[in-house]
């Protein structure tokens, strides 16, 4: 057993790539060792800006000898087959053994692989690891780069330490020979450091002012920054991203606290924090106030990579840089306020939203119209005027200097400027929060005006991109349409909105009213009204899956009444009721009865027109159905098969089913109408016994054509009654 150390030294590796590089190094090392048959236990992988290190404890020094046998063709097989077998196993024909297999003489290849020195295997593995290493971006350098085939690495590779049990594993990569010599800290250490092996590596580097363990450096920064802030009577604003980044920028991290001019605190705290973090990688601090309302303090913590002779000099340099940055930020903050948001918004006419989708100003107009509509229709309980105003201003900050500098402040700055301008708070807050929810953990707006603008913005994005057929595919979603969809779902679900997507898009977004003559182009555009709800329902299905609701139950609840249900809340309520129902014994049996009925009807090729089912084209215009309950009633009535009109006396089970349907069908229909899906399911449950008995006692395929026709019609009526509640044909298994 021996411990192995590999250090790959290079010029400064970007901080953001180091975690990935550690994983890659481990992966490739394991791959090479697996292929060589070397058992690898736990690995330690470290990184600093200037090196990647890997330690494998307890590697064997030799691999075990391997004895392999392979059965070949029988003796007398064509030469081609025998030669092929020899080639495959790398043996000479003369070396084949002949053995008896069930009375047939058969060739066998016996391969003895002697054990190999692990040092030799490592010597071959290291160049392979380096060559195959995948970096997000890599480069060529130096004399070798005269050829474009020269080695690529993230930055010039400058040294290889490879030691197995204290012995150098000799290898050469592009003129770089492995050895036991490395270097310490760029400024705190001179000359080379000689490493004995895996055991003294970290310590030798430590005495050369390099903390090779990235997690130890992270802890030094995390704790050091906190301590520095506390020593100044402040509370550090913790930021794990910054901790990792600074650990990736230093080999000897020294957190230092500095102060900046208090006058800059006029600038919003988010701006100061962002300026400090993004541009300078500094932490910020807060005054630890008694009221729990911490306020940003005029202090920062930078992380130096040296134990400076005089830390104050380093701090002062950093302070000056931050001051210059903050001075710029304040300049933007003041400059932006010299123009009203309404004036800023005019410049949106010059910004292309998407090459096929005109300008941001056009988008804003659509969003404003839709936001107003949502309020006017009472879908969102907000003031239509305020919603429209907020929507018209919600993108204005995109043309401000501050958002130009820090795009991540979009919305937030608009909110600040709106408040400074004295606009109603509802408007300012709607501008500020209308991008929400952004990520999974992000809070969902609840203020009505904000909800209206946020919802309108996201629906518009979806509809607009769907209109130009920019659908997300696979992993590609360049316009974040899935995120927009999730945002819509969360807004609707968490605010309990009864939003009909078809109507919102048709009336609120496209502005089409039923009394208007539609052109072909208009009708074409109305496909969006179908495709957006389908897309949203797909996403809903993903969300509900986590709540234990099967995707086919969602599908059965989505595609209902021969068109997609654009009411997200209704799809969910129906799918939940369906889940409960189908989880019960009644439900399971009813489903079985339904399937049997549907199968018979299908086998008989039962005329669809008799059950009033319209042709499914996938291009239905939901507006034609939406909001017209009288249409449902008509469908419901024409579907009736009146028991009294039969030309023969029905059998008892037949009669029982007819009677049960007479009660259950209208009840289910009216419950669906009033969106009481539990009651609708209960109505279906009352059909379970009659349908079971019907199949038990009654022969559908009666020689009497009248009876046969009447019974098929009865089954069709049963099926349609079920379909009125949910599309059971979508249910799998």
């Amino acid at each position: 057993m021996a411990d192995f150390l590999l250090e790959l030294r290079s010029e400064e590796i970007p901080a953001r790539m180091q975690a990935g590089a550690r994983a890659e190094l481990e992966k490739l090392f394991r791959r090479e060792m697996d292929a060589a048959g070397v058992a690898v236990g736990d690995l330690t992988v470290w990184s600093t800006p200037r090196r990647l290190a890997l330690i494998a404890k307890g590697l064997p020094t030799e691999t075990e000898a391997v004895h392999e046998e392979a059965k070949g063709p029988p003796v007398g097989a064509p030469d081609q087959a025998v030669d092929g077998f020899c080639r495959k196993n790398g043996v000479e024909r003369g070396a084949l053994e002949v053995r008896d297999v069930k009375g047939r003489e058969t060739y066998f290849a016996v391969i003895e692989k002697p054990g190999q020195a692990v040092s030799d295997l490592l010597a071959a593995a290291i160049p392979a690891i380096i060559r195959d290493f995948s970096w997000p971006k890599s480069m060529r350098w130096g004399d070798a780069s005269l050829s474009s085939e020269s080695l690529r690495w993230v930055r010039p590779l400058s040294g290889i330490v490879a030691l197995l049990g204290g012995e150098v594993v000799p290898c050469i990569m592009d003129g770089l020979a492995s050895g036991r010599e490395t270097v310490g800290h760029r400024f705190h250490s001179d000359g080379v450091i000689t490493i004995d092996g895996a055991d003294d590596y970290a310590d030798k580097l430590r005495s050369a002012s390099v903390i090779v363990d990235h997690e130890e450096r992270a802890a030094m920064i995390r704790d050091g920054a906190k301590t520095a802030a506390e020593a100044a009577g402040l509370a550090l604003v913790e930021d794990e991203g910054l901790v990792t980044e600074n650990a990736g920028l230093t080999e000897w991290p020294v957190p230092l606290l500095g102060r900046f001019d208090e006058q800059y605190l006029d600038v919003p705290p988010e701006v100061i924090q962002l300026t400090a973090r993004v541009n300078q990688k500094y932490f910020v601090c807060e005054d630890a106030a008694n009221d729990g309302q911490n306020r940003l303090a005029n202090a920062f913590v930078c992380t130096a990579n040296i134990a400076a002779a005089d830390p104050a000099v380093v701090v002062d340099g950093n302070r000056k840089v931050l001051a210059a940055r903050l001075s710029d930020a304040r300049f933007f903050w003041e400059l932006d306020q010299k123009t009203t948001l309404a004036e800023h918004a005019k410049k949106l006419e010059r910004i292309t939203f998407h090459e096929k989708l005109a300008t941001v100003a056009d988008k804003v107009e659509r969003v404003a119209k839709l936001a107003r509509w949502l309020c006017e229709e009472g879908i969102v309980n907000g003031d239509p005027d305020l919603a429209e105003q907020a929507a018209q201003l919600c993108k204005a900050d995109l043309v401000t200097e501050m958002v130009g500098e820090f795009p991540e402040l979009q919305g937030l700055m608009g909110g600040y400027y709106a408040e400074k301008e004295g606009l109603p708070l509802e408007v300012a807050h709607a501008i500020r929060d209308h991008y929400k929810p952004v990520g999974q953990g992000d809070e969902v707006p609840t203020a009505p005006v904000t909800v209206a603008v946020s919802l309108a913005d996201k629906l518009d994005t979806l509809a607009a991109f769907f209109e130009i057929e920019e659908f997300p595919t696979g992993s590609k979603d360049p316009f974040a349409l899935r995120r927009a969809a999730i945002g819509v779902l969360r807004l609707v679900r968490e605010n309990g909105l009864k939003l009909h997507l078809g109507m919102a898009l048709g009336l609120g977004w496209l502005g089409h009213h039923s009394d208007r003559q539609l052109s072909d182009a208009d009708i074409d555009r109305r496909k969006i009204i179908t495709s957006v709800p389908y897309f949203l329902n797909d996403r809903l299905s993903v969300v509900l899956k986590e709540a234990g609701i099967r995707h086919d139950y969602v599908a059965a609840s989505t595609d209902w009444n021969w068109s997609v249900d654009g009411r997200i809340d209704r799809v969910e309520a129906r799918a939940r009721a369906l889940t409960n129902f189908l989880g019960s014994e009644d439900g399971t049996n009813l489903l079985a009865g339904y399937k049997r009925a549907a199968n018979i009807l299908k086998k008989e090729d039962y005329d669809a027109s008799a059950s009033m089912e319209p042709e499914h084209t996938g291009e239905e215009d939901p507006l034609a159905l939406a909001g017209k309950p009288e249409f449902d009633a008509v469908i419901a009535e024409t579907g009736q098969t009146d028991g009294k009109s039969l030309s023969y006396s029905p059998e008892p089970a037949e009669k029982a089913l007819i009677d049960a349907l007479d009660v259950a069908a209208p009840k289910a229909a009216s419950s669906v109408e009033s969106e009481d899906f539990e009651a609708a399911m209960a109505a279906l449950a009352s059909l379970r016994a009659p349908i079971d008995a019907f199949f038990e006692d009654v022969i559908v395929n009666d020689p009497d054509q009248d009876k046969r026709a009447a019974r098929l019609a009865l089954l069709a009526r049963f099926r349609d009654a079920v379909h009125k509640v949910a599309d059971f044909s979508r249910i799998e298994g």
Binding site: E11, E12, P14, A15, R16, P49, K137, S138, M139, R140, W141, G142, D143, A144, S145, L146, S147, S148, V154, R155, P156, S158, R186, F187, H188, L249, T250, Q280, Y282, C302, A304, N305, I306, A308, A309, D310, V313, V314, D316, G317, N318, K320, V321, L322, A324, R350, I351, T352
Partner: protein, 314 residues
């Protein structure tokens, strides 16, 4: 008077320079340093340009297999950065110090750090860091990987390994160092305002040399320049670039591309180019610069291939 000049000349000769008190001594120290490192010390390119990278000693010389080591000061013009002399850090005209080393030497980082020490930046007193910053110039069809070098949190140098230029792989790769001279000098001299820099170590300030220029040029860039004339100049430079390309003088063509690029920057400062037009103008400049580089490389390729058997442009 005469004797005073002579004394001054003697005192500011190599060895007695004081880069910590004098802007020009800092430049001269860098010249000494890179000259000793084997660089050709060039003078600035005599055209208005946005960055030292535009100098033919960088762009065109980054192409081809021949070794090339050069250092020079390049005045840079960034019309939109003008602040009428009122901002302590922003200027529409400033100096860059460019070093180009091809192929990039193995000890290029150490050489660079030694040059910082030479001008008085002690890395045990000041926190020097190499922070990822990749460089890309679509205009030149060029990109490279490297860092911005931080000194106590301030970016003082752009450090790039050119990977492609004019759309061609750099074979070999050149290392490019671009020092921001004013900010380095402000740092070394401990001044907060660029105009307070001591220019010559004898009390002539940067402001005395450049403040009036900044005021007038800012006004001209933003308010005065005749935009019709600028549009016209842009078109003419573009046409002349094509003319030069058609006659196989790509260096002349490249100069016209630089000219067009600067005229475009002036039009930007005048605020007469809309967002939509902007992309189109940038595309036109890019075409000119790339065509010039391509034609240059293709024209030189036979010579390079003859001198370096086995080497090929593509």
């Amino acid at each position: 008077m005469e004797s005073e000049v002579k004394t001054a000349t003697r005192e500011s000769s190599a060895g007695t320079r004081d880069p910590s008190r004098s802007f020009q001594d800092m430049i001269l120290t860098l010249h000494d340093f890179w000259s000793a490192a084997g660089c050709v010390i060039l003078q600035p390119y005599d055209m208005r340009m946005g960055a030292g990278t535009f100098h033919t000693a960088t762009t065109l010389r980054a192409l081809g297999p021949e070794p090339w080591n050069a250092a020079f000061v390049q005045p840079c013009r960034r019309p939109t950065d003008g602040r009428y002399g009122e901002n302590p850090n922003r200027l529409q005209h400033y100096y860059q110090y460019q070093v180009i080393l091809k192929p990039s030497p193995a000890d290029i980082q150490e050489l660079y750090l030694d040059s910082l020490k030479a001008i008085g930046v002690d890395p045990l007193k000041h926190d020097i860091r190499f922070v990822e910053d990749d460089w890309e110039s679509p205009t030149l069809g060029a990109w490279g990987l490297g860092w911005e070098v931080w000194c106590d949190g301030m970016e003082v140098t752009q450090f790039t390994y050119f990977q492609q230029m004019g759309g061609f792989d750099c074979k070999p790769v050149a290392g490019e160092l671009t020092y921001g001279l004013e900010r380095l000098a402000m740092y070394i001299q401990g001044v907060d305002n660029v105009y307070d820099l001591d220019f010559n170590g004898r009390g002539v300030s940067y402001g005395e040399v450049f403040l009036e220029n900044e005021k007038q040029m800012s006004k001209w860039n933003f308010e005065v320049a005749d935009t019709d004339a600028l549009f016209d100049l842009f078109a003419k430079a573009e046409a002349e670039c094509r003319n030069a390309l058609g006659n196989n003088v790509p260096i002349a063509a490249y100069e016209q591309a630089i000219e067009a690029s600067h005229i475009f920057n002036l039009l930007q400062a005048r605020g007469v180019i809309s967002v939509q037009e902007r992309a189109s103008y940038m595309g036109r400049v890019r075409d000119l610069a790339r065509s010039s580089c391509e034609t240059y490389a293709e024209q030189m390729a036979p010579t390079w291939e003859a001198k370096f058997p086995g080497w090929s442009l593509i």
